[in-house]
């Protein structure tokens, strides 16, 4: 029971409070392009890969707990875990569009960032898995939120210089600021 609570707690923390998209701007490029269908496919693959990799990374962390690894060396181990999961996902993704999207969704800053961020605090498998799942779900929700904003921004009159990417970055910055305030941080004065 405790493991379930821990799983849910870390999943919610990763999805809402430590959303990798809004708090760290990881994987932000994918928010700028793509239809809702592509965003959903990307998000589902990314969540699956992050979730599955978090188990392997947890094992690797425990195996190498006594070694003092540098951050990059640890990240290399995590990347190897992602590669194994990616190769395992390959036969599952048979549709051409999913197969094309798989490398992009597996090897990006959001996946590796979530795995690196999950490493210091989580000392149980449930926590690590919860953080992995929550990161993927939170990232997908963030992409949909930005997509909704993008659709609305296309309908309003803007200075020409701001159309497209600049206004989307500004919008993301303001949403990010709102989330920053929502989770209880105080802006420095």
């Amino acid at each position: 029971m405790e493991a379930i609570f821990q799983f849910l707690f870390y999943a919610l923390t990763a999805a809402l409070l430590e959303n990798i998209f809004f708090t760290r701007a990881l994987g932000i490029r994918h928010a700028m392009f793509g239809s809702p269908r592509e965003i959903l496919s990307h998000g589902v693959i990314l969540t699956g890969i992050t979730f599955a990799s978090s188990f392997l990374c947890y094992g690797v962390r425990h195996l190498l707990a006594e070694q003092s690894l540098t951050p990059v060396l640890a990240a290399l181990c995590y990347l190897a875990c992602v590669t194994i999961v990616y190769l395992a996902f390959l036969p599952v993704c048979r549709r051409p569009d999913l197969r094309r999207m798989l490398p992009v969704s597996a090897f990006n800053c959001a996946v590796l960032g979530a795995l690196i961020l999950s490493s210091p605090g989580q000392d149980s498998l449930a926590a690590a898995a919860g953080f992995g799942l929550g990161s993927g779900v939170g990232y997908t929700l963030a992409l949909f939120l930005i997509k909704t904003g993008r659709q609305r921004l296309e309908l309003i009159t803007l200075p020409r210089a701001f159309k497209g990417m600049p206004i989307l970055l500004l919008y993301t910055g303001i949403v990010s600021l709102a989330i920053y305030g929502l989770i209880g941080h105080q802006l420095p004065t």
Binding site: T70, P71, L76, C109, A161, L169
Partner: protein, 238 residues
């Protein structure tokens, strides 16, 4: 249409793809997390840029040499693992010089191995089999990335912390601390992208207007040629 200066300008900037046109950050939206979140000071920007150069240049060279020979499904993991392996010496080098900065960069230094600029350049099929072209293109893209990163880092450090390269700047009497947070970076980069776009359009507009003036002058000269002087040498216009 008469577009002499506009075409000349277009041809000039087209020779530098990545630096001026198709800037990886401002035009294509590549490697954004590093410019947004990791460029809170010039030193941090230098660390990220060093890591980016060390990871990207050899990996793109490898991609240009092996791109067409590797099966599509294995290419991306090979490039990512190669870039991560290259980051190991870069980490050792930077730890010796900027240990605190590298520690504060946290997640952003290792994720340089899977940055979108690297993946974008590695998957460019027109660079496969042309290592020199790949190196030139990567160099220009990295220069474009570095320029944007430097400007953003300068603005954020100057107005966010009141320092430049860690040294206090005396004429800054106020600070906007929020600039040091990722959302501050997002807002700065949004205004920078819009500003660059506006300047580019103004420049193109000015060149176009200049071309139009030149064309009008040429047409007027063709319609009303200067009158020849008289046979006896006295000017007729007089």
């Amino acid at each position: 249409m008469f577009l002499l200066k506009t075409r000349k300008h277009h041809n000039r900037v087209r020779r530098l793809p990545g630096l001026i046109t198709e800037n990886p950050v401002l035009a294509l939206g590549l490697a954004l997390p590093f410019v947004i979140a990791a460029s809170y000071s010039l030193r941090a920007a230098l660390c990220v840029f060093t890591g980016m150069v060390v990871a990207t240049l050899p990996t793109v060279l490898l991609a240009s040499l092996t791109g067409s020979r590797l099966p599509a499904f294995i290419r991306t993991p090979v490039y990512a693992l190669c870039a991560m392996a290259l980051l190991l010496p870069a980490e050792a080098l930077l730890t010796a010089h900027f240990p605190v900065i590298l520690d504060s960069l946290g997640v952003y230094f290792p994720v340089l191995a899977v940055n979108t600029l690297l993946m974008h350049l590695c998957e460019k099929e027109e660079l496969w089999g042309h290592p020199l072209a790949a190196l030139r293109r990567t160099g220009l893209a990295l220069a474009g990335f570095g320029a944007v990163m430097g400007i953003v880092a300068c603005v954020r450090e100057l107005f966010g912390a009141g320092t430049l390269w860690g040294m206090p700047v005396s004429w800054i009497s106020w600070r906007i601390d929020a600039l040091l947070f990722p959302f501050g970076g997002l807002i700065v980069i949004a205004f920078l992208a819009a500003g660059c776009r506006a300047i580019g359009r103004l420049l193109r507009g000015a060149l176009y207007q200049s071309d139009q003036r030149l064309q009008r002058d040429m047409l007027r000269d063709a319609a009303h040629p200067p009158r020849p002087d008289g046979v006896d040498g006295t000017p007729i216009s007089k």
